[in-house]
Amino acid sequence: MIKESFSIYNRYLIQIMLLSVIIIIPLSIICYFGMVYLMQELDQSQYANLYALFLIIVNFTLVIPVFRRMAENDLQDEEESTLMDLIYEFAKHFGFIIMITIPVYIAGVLGSVLLFIPTIMALLIILLVPFFVDYKKIKDIFRQVGRVLLKENISLLFDFVIIISLHVLVWGLMMMSLSNFENSVIVFGFARSLVNALIFPILIFYLTQRYRSVALTTA
């Protein structure tokens, strides 16, 4: 699966670069500046860290439908979709992902009292919903999410470990080269957005092959 995702990355390299300039880098910069603003302005009693975590999560999940569509077109030998289609895909599913993510995230944060079990469930649902937003009915989306959750329950946590450790790895490598320069908020924001533009497509291609194939075989 990893080899296949790298080959998809190779095949659509120019489109992926254009999409990362148009979508991923501005989104990451906006999220990062929002994070910095909230961390500076809010008090200690207002839990700015939770908003920062929410922005980090949303930064990843909002990009998923674009690259999921690209990977699926490639895997099912369909026609290659144009750049305008993919940007429209991003705009179309923005509202729905936000509307699902906010209540589930609030439930996860409030449920952290119960030994973090609802938090893990909420994070899994937040991760899985964007892969199935293209279904027509809202009921179908949650049915597919439940199917994947039941099918590979514990191995979803390893996907989390993969996502987080890839982030930390690339971020650490980038900071080694940047540590000699004079750093500021803007430099960190741009470096972070470059890291996101590098990692997100490969991760999404890999996860698409995992989850969508499960959903397709059992449907």
């Binding site: 599913h93 923005f94 509202g95 729905f96 809202i138």
Partner: protein
């Protein structure tokens, strides 16, 4: 029938437009502070008036009305819980806010909907 997917989609796109334009205005500090507030207000409610009626052509006026009400309530909740501005203590301000936002988006819908319908008739 009123379709929920298209309605949520319209709210999302209007949020994207508002975020991008207010980010650009704030990043380059183009205008004075009051003008920035007025421009982002106009952009968000005019875009919800256009998009909600464009994608919900069966029930256009209701979609525009419900969209602007939803956006206003989202604004209240955000400013109350995230930024902790005690906005819900002032009923006169809330009423004023609702009136202005509904006025702007319904005016846009009244202007835009006949244009869309005429274009559809010409296309057919």
């Amino acid at each position: 029938m009123f379709s929920l997917r298209a309605f949520i989609q319209a709210i999302g796109v209007s949020l994207i437009i508002t975020i991008v334009i207010s980010f650009l205005m704030g990043f380059f500090s183009l205008f004075a502070f009051e003008w920035m507030i007025i421009i982002s207000f106009l952009v968000s409610y005019i875009s919800i008036g256009i998009l909600a009626s464009l994608w919900n052509m069966k029930t256009p006026y209701f979609a525009a009305f419900l969209g602007c009400i939803t956006l206003t309530v989202i604004n209240f909740i955000f400013s109350n819980f995230v930024l902790s501005i005690p906005i819900l203590l002032n009923p006169a301000l809330i009423q004023e806010n609702f009136i202005y936002s509904t006025f702007v988006s319904m005016l846009t819908a009244i202007i835009v909907i006949p244009i869309i319908k005429r274009r559809e008739q010409v296309a057919i």
